[in-house]
């Protein structure tokens, strides 16, 4: 079965791939906090650049990745255009009240330097969070993810859901295809050229019945197999996929701890006790 998902099941061999699941999960969570907490381009820009370096260093399959990058970029561009349409003066609120009009279409629709700045920062922030997530997803295997979540005290039964889901998604996809084909031979028309959307939806519902029944059979077998190998026996468990911490993991640990402290400082001083909502704007 071809692996059509972005996810790797077997770890790769680049620098980021070789980190432990624990390092990856922890770094990812802290980086997300770091991105969300501010609208400050001085904080976001370095991470944006690092995430691009990270992505390149993973040597991903660009064909698959390209599609995601294009979709996310287009959606986010659309998002900021809508923001602009909803409130062309939104920038002056965030950038200290100035309103330097650059282009004016009508009385209501104008583009100010402040709004342009605000929307650009917003766009970069969104793209950065996407890039960091992409790097995370490409660098981790589902088993490492389970191990990493377990390391931050998520109960292991919840962690297992991640790895098991990825294990059986291709199997369920194969069942779905088999059932689809058998129904097609009996006359269910799923060709968009020959059947309307409504009738296709209705006929797709037919596939669900056998799919659910076969999936239940499978779930029963899986849970028996797990019980018989002692799953759920103890309160703790270990992970085969989680290798010992290497030097790089220790370096990352130092970095993410410092970053965590910085985030805590920033959130307390800038978010919890804010003097004003102004973002950093160099052209006041």
């Amino acid at each position: 079965m071809e692996n059509r998902l972005l996810i790797n099941l077997i770890p790769g061999d680049t620098f980021l791939h070789r980190l432990t699941g624990k390092t990856k999960v922890r770094t990812f969570i802290i980086l997300l906090v770091y991105i969300i907490m501010s609208f400050d381009i001085r904080l976001i820009m370095p991470l944006f650049i690092l995430s691009i370096i990270g992505l390149v260093s993973l040597r991903p399959n660009w064909k698959k990745v390209k599609y995601f990058i294009i979709v996310i970029t287009v959606v986010n561009l659309l998002n900021i255009v809508l923001f602009w349409l909803a409130g062309p003066d939104i920038g002056s609120y965030w950038c200290g009240g100035g309103n330097t009009v650059l282009v004016s279409l009508t009385e209501r629709l104008f583009l100010s330097a402040e709004t342009l700045w605000y929307l650009s920062v917003r766009f970069i922030k969104m793209i950065t969070s996407f890039m960091v997530s992409l790097v995370f997803i490409l660098s981790i295997t589902p088993s490492e993810m389970a191990a990493g979540l377990y390391s931050i005290k998520v109960p292991y039964k919840i962690c297992t859901i991640f790895s098991i889901a990825f294990r059986y998604i291709p199997d369920i996809a194969r069942d779905y295809n088999n059932i689809k084909v058998s129904l097609q031979t009996r006359g269910v028309e799923l060709d968009p050229k020959k059947a309307s959307l409504k009738s296709r939806l209705k006929q797709n519902a037919l596939i669900l019945v056998p799919l659910i029944i076969t999936s239940f059979e499978r779930v029963g077998n899986i849970s028996n197999a797990m019980d018989l190998r002692g799953y759920g026996r103890g309160k703790t468990r270990t992970y085969y996929s989680e290798h010992e911490e290497l030097k790089a993991d220790k370096v990352f640990k130092a970095i993410y701890i410092i970053l965590l402290l910085f985030c805590a400082y920033w959130i307390i001083t800038q978010n919890i006790m804010p003097q004003d909502f102004r973002m950093w704007y160099p052209f006041v």
């Binding site: 079965m1 056998p210 996929s241």
Partner: protein
Amino acid sequence: MSTPIVEFKNFGFRYKTQTSPTLHDINLTIHRGEKVLILGPSGSGKSTLANCINGLNPFSYDGVITGSCKVAGMETKNASIFALSKVVGTVLQDSDAQFVGLSVGEDIAFALENQGIPRKEMLPMVDQAARIVGMEDFLLHVPYDLSGGQKQKVALAGVMHGDVELLIFDEPLASLDPRMGMTAVELIDRIHREQNKTILIIEHRLEDVLHRHVDRIVLMNEGRIVYDGEPDRLLASDLLTRHGIREPLYIMAMKYAGCELEPGQKLSDIHELDLSPFEEKLKKQHLAKVDKYVPKIGEEILKVENVTFAYGKDPVLKDVSFTIKRGEKVAFVGKNGAGKSTMAKLICGIERPREGRIMLNGADYTSLSIKEIAEKVGYVMQNPNQMLVKDMIKDEVELAMLLRGRSRKEIDEAVKKALKMCGLWPMRNWPVSAVSYGQKKRVTIASILVLQPDIIILDEPTAGQDFRHYTEIMEFLDELNREYGITIVFITHDMHLAIQYTDRAVVFAEGEVVADDSVYKVLSDDQVINRANLKQTSLYTLAMRLGIEPEAYIEHFINYERMVRDHGKPAAD
């Protein structure tokens, strides 16, 4: 005498969901180091018995235990499934579902992870377990790249760690091709000898298991033990046929010849068995007159011409050509991935050939849609649960007609005919969920026949079925062929099926047709057998030992067998 590891005393088990017990009065002792086969038809309670040993009963399937069952000194009703899993390792039938890890290494490590063993100690243990089953070079492979046999080896490695003393194999041969099945039996035997484990095999394929020695056979029927003892005595008796187990072919041949079988004769091993007392009778039997079976075959109906097909770059089928005539029964055989299922998909129009053409009644039909082709060629999937979508049998059968917008009158006529052909007419208003597996299979066949196709293709029609259900399904298909002249293609691993119920085998190996001939000719050709992962039948060995040409011997046996099947056994002369 060694110490017992499993001890049943007046044991009974009833599932909470059922009103009467599944197991009655079980008294059985299994000693350390023994290798025992638990034999029985479906529903005889053999799997229930195994699940009472490994703890699935009553921990996963709730039920009531009477009497006592001790495993390694633990009374199972007081022990936990976890405590039992330290002593008992179980390899389940479904090799796909039990593969819970995302790689071979992870799956083998799963039990160790659950015990919380540090990774440093885990690695050498995983390595060692993988080495025992010969999977050490595959640790980083994902399950989707493995064959059924490899997955089974991984499952075995995953339950063999540490103190596990008893290994239970639940229908280990069910989803393997003949050669892989033979390898599995050999592997189990090696583990038994080298690792010093107690082995319990649950199976109904007696002949395949007897490929290697077993110490003892326990025969079960209707929840009771009907035989417990050495294999030879069981083979000499008539218990097997009485309880719906297929006898090994060589034993059948000897019984047809009127040989008097005695327990002391090493009957369980075709190579060791002393044939001298039977030689005369066997040779005489070979000369007995049989009606030569001539299938009713009409004109050419399907013609496959130089077909090449690939999913990606590597061709799955290379320049394949063959023909099928009206009224024929043809088997597609070969190992998994050899291209036989792909060929079936091409014939049904699910995939289209890259090169070459497929003709039905002299016309190339590959430009038609799947739906249109389905009116000429029907495809019945292996698992009926993947085909059944309606609540009522009648609704299920009429679905294909309904979706084609036929008139009510036309539909009713066609449905009635299909249901009558399949013997389902009295059950037409029954819910689909209420009928047995074999009947579900009939419902799926009826739902295909309703379109009155010229050919039907069945994918492993008897997979997972015991001899009784197997016979029921195959006799029904034979009747469809005989009475209604329907051309049938079987995709199968089962050589018994191919021998007994088909006229011809098309053998696939690595995307090519390596043989296209009568089944007994195919099974007498070493080269074909090796290329296609098939296995010689015991008849071949028997013929060689008697100094008779195997091809002729097998053909004679098949004709004789068919005669017995159709007219009962002729009076001994």
